[in-house]
């Protein structure tokens, strides 16, 4: 049986194994070595939350600290990718996208198309997403819909350690630019993770719980809220099927549609802001492609259309709860 390790360690292991396998993999970001130029030992920090700890000791200069210049180093990662490297660049918090988005959405995402297929940019941008850290409005966003909207990008958001390792390995081996979203409140979450490297293909949703009454679609942390809701609803006699999307672009709509064909009911749970969200995207596609199967209105469970509040009292209300998912499920049943 595989060990149980945390999502943080699973990510570290994926980076380590891919760097070992492929010399063109380089890893860069602010403080991801930790302490470059400082009196204390480098590799001390291993990133602001320690995710890359220990890698510098093993891989040396292929791990690079950067100055606080996101456009420059993310753009350099994109440029290096176009020149044959496989850079993994850490944008500490996805909330910082506003200072470097051009290099991601106008450069990395568009090179292949603009250049008539004659370029590829196999770059991975790792970033922390999500609320619950009491980190307030500028360090708690999901922003997954923004990247999913952009043609040319792939967007990944694992819900557990096993998926994180397999999806990150796939992201690094993938030949397209990938935004790899790590929910900071899942770093400590443990699952069984095999020692050896393995890749989980994109666009393969994971049915984490089967059930015939209602389909609940979720990703990232929300998978756990959905599962909790499903478990509690089961005691009421309602059986929910929980679909973990795992990747948002490409998205496994086949799995969602198939589940809805079976249940006739859909609840989408999304930690991103509601407008133009993943929840809206999935709901709309179901309303277009599985309309006949639907027995009642689709339901979307998202935070309110507000920035993320700081106070724990408010933040806990902001993040969709299992209770809200349960209410939504009930709403699809009565309608």
């Amino acid at each position: 049986m595989a060990r149980k390790i945390s999502m943080k360690d699973a990510i570290n292991e994926a980076l380590d194994q891919e760097m070992t396998r492929d010399p063109s993999v380089i890893v860069m970001g602010e403080d991801i070595v930790g302490g470059t130029g400082s009196p204390g030992e480098a590799d001390a920090w291993g990133g602001v939350l320690g995710v890359t700890k220990g890698l510098y000791a093993k891989h040396g200069d292929r791990l690079m600290d950067t100055p606080l210049s996101e456009s420059a180093y993310i753009g350099a990662a994109v440029g290096a990718a176009a020149c044959g490297m496989r850079p993994v660049a850490e944008l500490m918090f996805i909330d910082f996208m506003g200072v470097c988005l051009d290099e991601i959405f106008n450069q990395a995402a568009k090179f292949k198309y603009m250049f008539g297929g004659k370029a590829q940019t196999p770059v991975v941008i790792r970033a922390m997403v999500g609320a619950g850290f009491r980190a307030a409005a500028q360090h708690s966003q999901m922003l997954t819909p923004v990247f999913t909207h952009i043609p040319g990008l792939k967007v990944v958001c694992p819900s557990n350690a096993y998926d994180a390792k397999g999806l990150l390995i796939q992201s690094i081996r993938d030949n397209d630019p990938v935004i790899f979203c790590e929910h900071k409140n899942l770093y400590a979450h443990e699952t069984e993770v095999p020692d050896e490297p393995y890749a989980i293909p994109f666009a393969e949703a994971n049915v984490v719980r089967e059930g015939g009454d209602v389909t609940i679609v979720a990703y990232g942390l929300m998978v756990h809220r959905a599962t909790e809701a499903a478990d509690r609803l089961a005691r009421e006699g309602v059986e929910c099927e929980v679909v973990d999307l795992r990747t948002l672009s490409p998205i496994d709509m086949d799995a969602v549609l198939e589940s809805v064909e079976g249940t006739g009911r859909l609840v989408c749970v999304d930690e991103a802001s509601p407008r133009c969200s993943i929840a809206a995207d999935v709901s709309a596609q179901v309303a277009q492609h599985a309309f006949k199967a639907l027995k009642g209105p689709v339901q979307m469970v998202t935070p309110p259309h507000t920035p993320v509040p700081f106070s724990p009292a408010l933040e806990d209300l902001y993040i969709p709860s299992a209770e809200r998912v349960m209410e939504a499920v009930r709403a699809t049943m009565v309608a």
Partner: protein, 327 residues
Amino acid sequence: MAENPFPLGRDQLLAAYRTMRTIREFEERLHVDFSRGDIPGFVHLYAGEEASAAGIMMHLTDKDRIASTHRGHGHCIAKGVDVKAMMGEIYGKVTGSCRGKGGSMHIADLDKGMMGANGILGAGAPLACGAGLAAKFRGDGGVGVSFVGDGASNQGMFLESLNLAAVWNLPVVFVVENNGYAESTSVEWAVAVDSYVDRAAGFGLPGVTVDGTDFFAVHEAAGEIVARAREGGGPALLECKMCRFYGHFEGDAQTYRGAGEVEDLRANRDCIKIFAQRVTETGVIRPAELTAIDREVLDLIEQAVAEAKAAPLPTAADLLTDVYVSY
């Protein structure tokens, strides 16, 4: 009474001391309360850097606007933001400066000219240019002051702002608070120039470097720069070399630091100790006067914490307000 060799009167010296001491005790208390688990989220302490905030802000009034950083408590206090409201905010209470919605990284008080701590590094520089621009249009003589750390001085938003302020001849002062580190990364490594004076010159700006642990050096340099900006003489850059007594954020094990580094800084580069020694050894201020302030400050902080702890949390109704003026 001894003759006063300082460019400030006794009242001003005492006020400067009170500001610095308030910041220090505020931060020392947060350090303790955070480690007890009383305070949520990210907290970046300004302890050790007080002379910069105090020395610069003494030249500013409420109509002057500052754009601060993630390490903003010191700037807030020196700019006159209510200490109890700040504490309430950091505790996530509805009595906080931002009604609990912002927290440590977003304390603001526009009435006091405090445009907000900021979780995005470098983002304050354009905002300060905007403050300068507004002052210029209003003709009210106000200035905008942008604070950035050494790390943030490599951010494009900051660099662009140096050029914009120069081109538009804005009444803006850029303060680089150089504490030697950006998180764990050394300034020597990350900033590719030996002197910020040269970086400023690359944008046609006058630049000055001072010992940021010397209140009087900061105060003097800031005085000239602010006055020039106020009179239409344009922007400038001021680098304060300083030191951070705590980790990057609370919870930081600081393994990247040299052995004995912090102890040494506390012993030899404590801007408050240095200030106290100078004003007392000249006889201008009596030690007892400072001790009295120390006591008052401790009382204030104690009260602020007690009130913050007792204050109500925001409730569900607060979640949805303040997003728009109207929607």
